[in-house]
């Protein structure tokens, strides 16, 4: 076991891990962060996405030990001080059904807006394209992100 220390949702956290432990499992089982989900477990579905040093990564494809000294943000961190604009719009428009893909969608959207506050539909589709949703057919999700990022949109 090796002790690693990371900044998780703006808090310094230390945890003992084996080299072969996967970040997703450590987040959920040892650090109590439940928003990243295990969908495909091989990097295809996006349900386990987290922000690692500001960039979205698949936490099912990262070893926990690789994140020693790094910064991780999950949906818990994004909504620490209340829901973000995008989260509120997704809620208002009832954009999800089962909600399993929601954390990944929110992580990808957060990353996109950071770089590009007013993306067009093509840019939104490209940013969200690695997140699979089996319920909605994507339209309400795309519409919500579009609405929340429109220029001149007020809360």
């Amino acid at each position: 076991m090796k002790k690693i220390t990371l900044k998780l949702n703006n808090e310094l956290r230390s945890v003992y891990v084996e080299p072969e432990e996967i970040l997703l499992d450590v987040l959920r089982e040892k650090l109590g962060v439940k928003s990243p989900k295990c969908g495909c477990d091989r990097g295809d579905c996006g349900a386990c996405a987290v922000l690692l040093n500001g960039k979205s990564v698949r936490s099912c494809l990262v070893l926990a030990i690789e994140t020693d000294g790094q910064e991780i943000i999950t949906v818990e961190g994004i909504s620490k001080d209340g829901l973000s604009k995008v989260q509120n719009t997704l809620l208002d428009k009832n954009a999800f059904q089962c909600g399993f893909c929601a954390p990944g969608m929110i992580i990808s959207t957060t990353e996109l807006i950071e770089k590009n506050p007013h993306p067009n539909l093509e840019e939104i589709k490209e940013a969200l394209s690695g997140n699979l949703c089996r319920c909605t057919g994507y339209l309400p999700i795309l519409e919500s992100v579009q609405e929340a990022t429109e220029e001149g949109h007020h809360e």
């Binding site: 072969e20 432990e21 996967i22 960039k55 990564v57 690695g130």
Partner: protein, 287 residues
């Protein structure tokens, strides 16, 4: 899902330390960069190792360097780094376009181009561009350096000629005035591996270069096609004639992603579409 087989994790600080580790561990180590292939393989027991050497902490490997005649892309450079480089977009448009078509943002943020060629799956998106650019792979072990042409690099599906004690330092790509595209056929946008892919390079003196991925055991240049078109002005009639040479240049298989016949059919279409686009781009137009 955890990884069943135990291994030790090493995080060297520089290239020298890595080369010593590789020598000392004598073949019982794997290099970890982005991990988007390797971690899946370790989980699914397609790969086993006693040691993982994580090279992400080595700043010397995380650089894109541009000299007068060449571009060097370090072993830690991710596809996102390539896409975010305006210089690479200008100077290596085919590679830039291919990088944009790799999987999705969450994978591109992590996956490295050197990792892509080391995994060496037949569908690797970066290979057609590297082949038409005549890229070279700069490799080092404890005792010395060597340079491997991309044309010699692939030894078979998922196999390269890299030796167990060697580390890829960078990919070296010569700079030419050119235009070109990477055409990729996938079932859907987002994660899919290429069903077929073709890189197309044209320059002002009517040199044409073509390379494929996913339609043969290893990615390759299409020399018969290049010789046939060499120094000719592209016309619709010539395109049709040239497209008929494609089936003999490739050797696709039928698998879960598509049939052999579909791949051959689409390669002809992607060739014609891509070459027409490239000629327009060369004349300064937009594709």
């Amino acid at each position: 899902m955890a990884i069943i087989n135990d291994f030790e994790y090493h995080k060297p600080k520089d290239i020298n330390e890595t080369l010593h580790l590789l020598a000392e561990l004598n073949g019982k180590a794997k290099i970890l960069a982005g991990g988007t292939d390797l971690i899946v393989h370790l989980k699914e027991e397609l790969a086993k190792t006693e040691n993982l050497i994580d090279i992400k902490g080595i700043t010397d490997l995380n650089k894109i360097e541009i000299s007068q005649d060449n571009i060097f892309i370090g072993a830690g450079v991710t596809f996102t780094d390539i896409i975010e480089s305006q210089k690479l977009k200008e100077k290596l448009p085919i590679l830039w376009e291919a990088s944009e078509k790799v999987a999705s943002v969450g994978i591109r943020n992590r996956a490295t181009i050197v990792g892509n060629i080391c995994s060496a799956v037949p569908s690797l998106d970066s290979a057609p561009a590297l082949l038409v650019y005549d890229a070279e792979i700069l490799v080092q072990n404890k005792t010395g350096k060597r340079t491997i042409s991309i044309h010699d690099w692939f030894a078979g599906p998922k196999k390269t000629i890299l030796k167990p004690d060697e580390l890829v330092i960078a990919i070296k790509i010569p700079i030419f005035q050119h235009a070109g595209v990477y055409e990729k056929l996938g079932r859907y946008k987002g994660e899919d591996l290429a069903q077929a892919g073709i890189g197309i390079f044209v320059d002002a003196s009517r040199n044409y270069r073509f390379a494929y991925c996913a339609v043969g055991p290893i990615p390759k240049r299409m020399k018969t096609l290049e010789d046939f078109l060499d120094n000719k002005e592209i016309s619709d009639k010539l395109l049709e004639e040239a497209a008929e040479l494609i089936p003999a240049e490739i050797s696709p298989i039928s698998d879960i992603r598509s049939s052999k016949e579909y791949r051959i059919h689409m390669m002809k279409i992607m060739f014609k579409r891509g070459l027409q686009k490239s000629v327009v781009l060369l004349k300064g137009g937009r594709s």
